[in-house]
Amino acid sequence: MFTTFRHQWLALHKSWRCLLQTNPALRWPLVTLYWLPTGIVFSKYFYSLRSVKGMSMQPTLNPDISQWRDVVLLDHYSTRVKGLYRRGDVVTVWSPMEPGVLLIKRIIALGGDKVKTLPPYPDTEITVPEGHAWVEGDEPFRSDDSNKFGPVPLALLDSRLLLIVWPFARIGFVPHPSEASVKSPRGGPAWRQEKAETERHQWRTSRVTVGPNS
């Protein structure tokens, strides 16, 4: 039994070698195909690159001055493997309304927190249930977010935004909004941008009452 298995396996191996030697053009496609599972698992559970479409995260992503769509590096490891969720992080979310659509939003509140909602939502204030998150776009008027579909289960959070890779002018890590501070000389465009950023952060945190168990 064993010898037949071994012979068959060796024969298979030999014919595979023979195939690659006779058609060298097949080598790279087949080798890529063979290693594809590792690649898919890496981009699913570790890191992946994606381009961002739409205006809901303006001005953090895809600002009006940009000619290109932003390309970002996403960190799946901290959300999907370690289960790390922080208020203020930019995350990608599987849309609860349309299966298969990936949205990019900011976590405003986590389970147990009280949030003051924005217009399309029926109640003015709600408590986010355990195991859920309240996510919103940075541009509230152009965004389909929790104000439309309510709190999202944490299982739908797919990854965290780590850094912007393209366009070249804005390459770099995306800082957590609590670390952002106004450093540039007063009055310039950079100062106005930083000032607006911190004000948005203050406005967002002012609407959230952090719950007792976090």
């Binding site: 590792t38 309304m97 289960p153 299982a155």
Partner: protein, 189 residues
């Protein structure tokens, strides 16, 4: 059988001896390459069980009497609902990630599709039995077969279809109770 084991041992030993004869540098290379192959194979198995389906262990009191509390092995079909999302039907057994805890998988019966009007709790225990809701777009209503011991949509409302992993196709263990789960729903006109 004994000759099979003897040959296996012999071959393993021969491979090992020829491996030992190689230089340390080549040894590391061989081991690293083997490790990558093993990792790749594990990734492929994981992806298969995630997107196509595999055997899975289910237990807990919420699906009595369809499934036992002490646990059983079932075959999960994760492929069909991905290829044809419309194939989800009322009465299917679905597995999904718990909306309360992202680390937990749960198995429930699908009761309502988007647009259905559902009585929240006919037993009147968790909500008045006159309360009705419309299942929103992209959501489904799920319930355990054992209403008394199940945390389901009666408690946390309709759940998103994005949380659904797959459908339970059949039970394969215990051997005496091998079943292919058929959809039990009949519609009254």
């Amino acid at each position: 059988m004994s000759s099979f084991i003897r040959r296996l041992a012999e071959n393993t030993r021969n491979d090992f001896v020829s491996f030992l004869a190689k230089s340390p540098r080549l040894k590391t290379q061989i081991i690293a390459l083997k490790a990558f192959h093993v990792i790749n194979f594990a990734c492929a198995c994981h992806l298969f069980s995630e997107y196509v389906g595999f055997v899975r262990f289910v237990d807990g009191p919420s699906m009595i009497p369809t499934m036992s509390q002490t646990g059983e092995l079932v075959i999960e079909n994760n492929l069909t609902h991905r290829l044809r999302p419309n194939s989800l039907a009322r009465g299917d057994l679905v597995t999904l990630v718990s909306p309360l805890d992202p680390q937990r998988l749960i198995c429930k019966r699908l009761m309502g599709l988007p647009g259905d009007i559902i009585c929240v709790d006919p037993t009147g225990q968790q909500a008045p039995s006159s309360e009705h809701v419309v299942v929103p777009k992209g959501h489904v209503w799920i319930m355990g077969d054992n209403a008394a011991a199940s945390r389901d949509s009666r408690m946390y409302g309709p759940v998103s279809m994005s949380l659904i992993r797959g459908r339970i196709y059949a039970r394969i263990w215990p051997w005496r109770e091998i079943t292919i789960f058929r959809n039990p729903i009949t519609y009254l006109d």
